[in-house]
Structure formats: C-alpha cells, structure tokens
C-alpha cells in the first residue's frame, strides 16, 4: 500500500506512531495535506504543506485510512451525482475531506483542526483542484498509466489553491514553477 515510502522504511504505521509523539507539540507544523488517489487506489500525488516535510509517512497513512471511509461513502451516496463527499472522519487533530470524480479519481485533503472551513469553501477548493488535475491530464506528455504526477504547473496550482483556503501567501515559486 505504501508506495510513497522507500522500501527501507520500517513500515508506515510504526513510523506514524513514532512521529505522533513529537507531533502533538508541533500541531501548527503541518496545516494541510493534499493527495490524489487513482482509480485502483494507487497514490498519484501527495503534497504536505508545512515548514519541514518530515511527516510524509504519517500523512500518507492518514490518507490511506480515509480511503476506506471513501468506499463506504460511495456506497452510501451511490445514487447521488455530487462528486464532493464532504467530511470523512477526524483523526487526531486533523479532519479529512474527500472528493471523487466519476472516473474514480479521489482527492483527499487533510486539514488541521485549527482551520475551520465552511463546506462551500472546501467544495470550491476541490473543484479547483479537480480543474487543475484535468488540465494536467490534457497535457499530451502526461502519463496515463497511474504514474505519479510530476508537473510544475500542477504543483503551482495546488500551492495557489491551498494558499487561498489557508489564507496565507503562497511560497516563493521554485525554478521552473510557473502559474
């Protein structure tokens, strides 16, 4: 399951728990995580928004946990047309929200409790991320077979949209990153 982690890691859960201990002190450290999950539940994209990107495994496990909830959600909401799944579950001091397209691509956002966002803000955010993903797929060079998303433009779009919901200035664009 943990395709993000390197094979030498001792296992995502073990690390996740270990990280958890120190994590409580740094509750402000990571404020948001955006993940894109493919059709077969393969991770396509995981992006942490924090000062130091050390908690990747922990957030990865949060995202994977949420996939089960998404499955349940989908069964429950099978009759509905809405792609926005809404609030999925709380884990520790985070809240997880989900969105699934009709082509079974899932977008998952993990937000720290301190950000009390309205439903419509998240709905709007997910729609923007979806649009960015569509634009990424329209690039003829983008791989179709479930490869990781590697695109400066997609990165920049995610940064921009996350910055709007978190209401803080986007980080300085790296080399090659263009709006």
């Amino acid at each position: 399951m943990s395709q993000f982690s390197d094979p030498d890691a001792t296992g995502p859960m073990a690390q996740g728990v270990a990280i958890f201990g120190e994590f409580v002190e740094n509750a402000q450290g990571v404020t948001a995580t955006v993940a894109v999950i493919g059709k077969k539940n393969e991770p396509l994209y995981l992006r942490l928004f924090d000062e130091y990107q050390t908690k990747e495994l922990y957030f990865q496990s949060l995202v994977f946990v949420s996939l089960d909830v998404i499955d349940e959600c989908v069964e429950r909401k099978a009759m509905q047309q809405d792609m926005y799944l809404g609030f999925l579950c709380p884990i520790d001091e985070y809240q997880i929200y989900g969105y699934m397209t009709n082509s079974m691509i899932k977008f998952v956002v993990v937000l720290a409790d301190v950000h009390r966002l309205q439903d419509f803000e998240l709905r709007d955010f997910f729609q923007k991320v979806h649009a960015a993903y569509v634009e990424y797929l329209l690039n003829p060079f983008a791989p179709l077979d479930g490869d990781k998303i590697k695109s400066a433009r997609f990165d920049a779009a995610i940064e921009r949209h996350v910055a709007t919901i978190l209401e803080r200035p986007p980080p300085a664009p790296g080399p090659g990153a263009k709006a």
Partner: protein, 187 residues
C-alpha cells in the same frame, strides 16, 4: 498595404473561417507529437519530421490562403512577413503575431507569437530538446516556397522551454527563379 490594413483584413477573414473546437485541435496535435516521439525515439528526428509535415501542409495551404484572402503579390519581403503575421496567422490560428528585429538588409526578421494555441495545456518533460510547435516553421517554409521564396524558418525562443515569448526566426535565402514558366512563354 499598410500594417493596420493587414490586421483588419486578417480580422475580417477570421470571422468567415470555419472554426473547430480549440481543445480538440490542441489535443489532436499533442497526440500526434507524442506518437511521433514514441515512433521515432529521437527528439531531433521528431523536430525534423514535424518540420517536414508542416512543409507539406504549407504547400497546400498557400492556395487556400491566397484564394480566401485575395492578397496579391507582395513587393518586398517586409510586406510578406507582415502578411504572414497579421493575415495568415490570424486566419488559420486566430492569433495575431508581431514582426520584430529586422536585420539591416531586411531579409530576416522574427515573428513573435504571444499566444500559441498549439501549446495550451502542454508541459514538456524536463531536459528535452523538442521544438513542440516546429510544424509552424514547416508551414511557413512550404507556403513561401510555393510563391517563389526560399526561406529558412526556425524557433529561437519557446514558451514551453521557459522563455517569455515564442519567437520564430524567418530568413529569406533567395527568390526562386521561375524558369519553367519562361520556357512555356517562348513557345
């Protein structure tokens, strides 16, 4: 014909031209380029192939262009460049192009394409020497060859490679002599 008149003419013809969906057009071209990359496996070959394809398109397109635009002979190369930029690009791609940086002899100039519809959505893989829109160079070369102008045409700057504008350099090499026609005239 003055520059602004050409721009007006381009606008007029653009109104009359049949249009296709921009995304369809862009994706079709993108799929073609990617397929070429897969088939030829060498980026340099892909660049050449795109140019060659453009050349064939240009050879055909020039008649369509002359028929629909009603443009007569240009007196000098500067006029030709302006017609390409203001009328031809507008007519076929719906974008306006600027002519800039003439050399002293007025035989070479740059076409500045600010908005290239071929490259919407496109993001090149890193470190690749592909001139994605090279087909445009071929079209210009092919079309001008049909009106007795041998030109060289190549990309200097490309927004896909991080430049701020697309710049196509257009260099006039020679006027092709119309020898066949003279022979027929003597008979």
């Amino acid at each position: 014909m003055s520059a602004s008149a050409n721009a007006r003419l381009g606008e007029q013809i653009w109104q009359k031209m049949p249009k296709i969906n921009a995304e369809f057009f862009t994706l079709t071209y993108g799929a073609m380029v990617v397929q070429l990359m897969r088939d030829l496996e060498d980026v340099q070959l892909v660049n050449e192939k795109l140019e060659k394809m453009g050349h064939s398109i240009g050879c055909r397109l020039i008649d369509e262009f002359l028929a629909k635009s009603g443009i007569n002979n240009c007196n000098e190369f500067a006029e030709t460049a302006d017609v390409i930029a203001k009328v031809a690009f507008k007519m076929f791609l719906g974008v306006s192009v600027e002519v800039a940086s003439w050399n002293d002899e007025k035989t070479s100039c740059s076409l500045l394409v600010y908005d290239n519809p071929l490259t919407d959505f496109v993001e090149l893989p890193p470190n690749i020497n592909l001139y994605y829109s090279n087909v445009l160079c071929g079209v210009i070369r092919g079309a001008l060859e049909m009106v007795q102008l041998r030109v060289e045409c190549y990309f200097v700057r490309d927004t896909l490679r991080g430049d701020d504008v697309n710049e196509i350099r257009l260099e006039l090499k020679e006027h092709i002599k119309d020898e066949m026609a003279e022979e027929y005239r003597r008979e």
